[in-house]
């Protein structure tokens, strides 16, 4: 890997709370530009929580709170003058379950550009075509763009969601287990797509699939769970960043025994 310190996103001592409950604690990591970074770890360790703190998706959950610094190209995302709406346009998100709007394929993709004020049919056509091509969906749907997005197969729906995301030309794409609802063939298609997209975008992906992490990612962050007995019978659990390294390094010579047991599939 040849990286010269171009970090798209930096997290420094990030804590996230849901109401009074600490969900993840003291996460510091740097996400490199135009690389794929994978988040792995046992269920409930806060992968999604950290991911969602990167584009301020947590703002939508009542009571959720982020402490510490999340910087994007040197700007603190949580500075008071930052508008979360703009953050989310520049840092897009693809979700675990494909969630196309109950609208036509065309309208799904054109949704973001229209928000930005693009009205011209010609421009919209161009964006839709470019995005669908970018998501490698164009050939499958070009003849029927008026069809409802819900009428597509699961894998196609997920690629539609990716097309919808890249239509607003974000700089970073966050993907939360984008393949967990897909069959192996569709998964393959989405993985191939990621490898192409990474030439233009910074990608962060949460996955439970060790092979997938090894196949697609350049860097891997392993999160784990810390526990503390507060009163007998009542346990506090929160997530921490266990290890962060280049993927090949993390998988071949993990730093800690915990990481090693996890990637060997012994827990989680």
């Amino acid at each position: 890997m040849t990286q010269n310190g171009a970090y798209a996103i930096q997290l420094k001592n990030v804590d996230v709370f849901y109401g009074p409950k600490l969900a993840v604690s003291d996460v510091s990591l740097n996400i490199q530009t135009r690389r794929i970074t994978a988040f792995i770890g046992p269920s409930g360790c806060g992968k999604s929580t950290v991911l969602r703190s990167i584009n301020r998706m947590n703002d939508l959950i009542p009571g959720a709170r982020v402490q510490g610094d999340v910087t994007f190209q040197g700007q603190n995302l949580y500075a008071p003058e930052v508008d979360p709406v703009e953050v989310r346009r520049r840092i897009g998100m693809v979700f675990q379950k494909p969630n196309p709007f109950p609208k036509s394929i065309y309208d799904n993709v054109a949704y973001g550009p229209r928000l930005l004020g693009v009205r011209s049919k010609a421009v919209l056509d161009e964006i839709v075509e470019k995005s669908l091509k970018g998501a490698y969906l164009w050939d499958e749907v070009r003849s029927d763009l008026k069809k409802s997005g819900l009428a597509l197969s699961g894998g196609q729906q997920q690629r539609l969601c990716i097309a919808r995301t890249i239509a607003v030309e974000p700089e970073v794409i966050l993907m939360d287990e984008p393949c967990s609802a897909l069959d192996p063939i569709a998964t393959q298609a989405v993985e191939d797509l990621m490898k192409i997209l990474v030439k233009q975008y910074t990608i962060v992906i949460v996955t439970h699939n060790m092979q997938q992490a090894q196949r697609v990612s350049d860097f891997t962050a392993f999160f784990s769970i810390r526990k503390q007995e507060e009163t007998p019978g009542k346990e506090n659990r929160w997530g921490v960043l266990g290890e962060f390294a280049e993927t090949t390094e993390l998988f071949s010579s993990p730093n800690s025994e915990e990481t090693e047991r996890y990637i060997r599939g012994e827990f989680g």
């Binding site: 989310r88 998100m93 196309p100 609208k103 928000l115």
Partner: protein, 325 residues
Amino acid sequence: MQTQLEAGREISRVQSAVAARRAQATLFKRPRPGEDAIRVYLLLCGVLSIFTTLGIIFVLGEESLRFFTSGVTDAVEFLTSIKWQPQAGEFGILPLLESTLMTSFMAMLVAIPLGLGSAIYLAEYAPSGVRTAMKPILEVLAGIPTVVYGYFALTFMTPALRGIFGQDAVQIYNTAAAGIVMGIMILPTISSMAEDALSSVPRSLREASYGLGATRFETIVKVVLPAALSGILAAFIIGISRAVGETMIVALAAGAGSNWSFPPNFFVAAETMTGHIARISGGDLSYDSVDYNSLFAIGLMLFFITLGLNLLSQWVSKRFREVYQ
């Protein structure tokens, strides 16, 4: 010795009796008259609702038939004439229908924006504390008897309108005050139905929209509202149906005596279909008079309109369910 033998005999007798009973205890069905009687009773309870509907249709139909065959009027005149003057033998339903539509229109003018607005606020904006505090208030509003709303229309809304638009412009009885208060009455119905529709839009759609950089308002208008559209439309239609059938508010505040006004004037007195039925039947009414029969003809019209609206609303909301399954 003797007693032992006796006891032994006794035991064997009991044993053989038990054995005999065992042999009888098959798994065949036994008649259970009690259970069957209860079942029939319960079925009758269920079927009663059908008889109620049939009763309504029969009663309205029969009396309407008498009305149309009485010679004073016929169906065509009934549906097309713009005069309803029973004393003069004029029975055209249009003026009554017009006032019904006017009050309903006014009601929806109030209830749709406010009902939908408050539903959106409760479903999308309100912190959960506000929501739990507000719901009972809307329920109170929904539980107030309509005659109380009628009082409110007559003693508050009408004076208020007369204060704003002038004593000369607004009559003491008018469709505007009745309609506005009717809108307030319907507001909680629309609000709660619309809120249900909004809340049943999956969270994932909202997240997708926010994830693309939409503001909350854009997410609501472009994603949530369209996805909940059929449920919301169903709520509006139910609201219209309730407005059309509402009686007490118009009986108290809209005025007596039919009035065909074209173009519609909301500040003059005009009797609606329901208001007319209430006023005439509340007075001394002799059975078998044309007046009596005419009430049922109006009732039949009212029944068809509200039934149509209710069916339409069910159809619309059924389409909604199909989208998400």
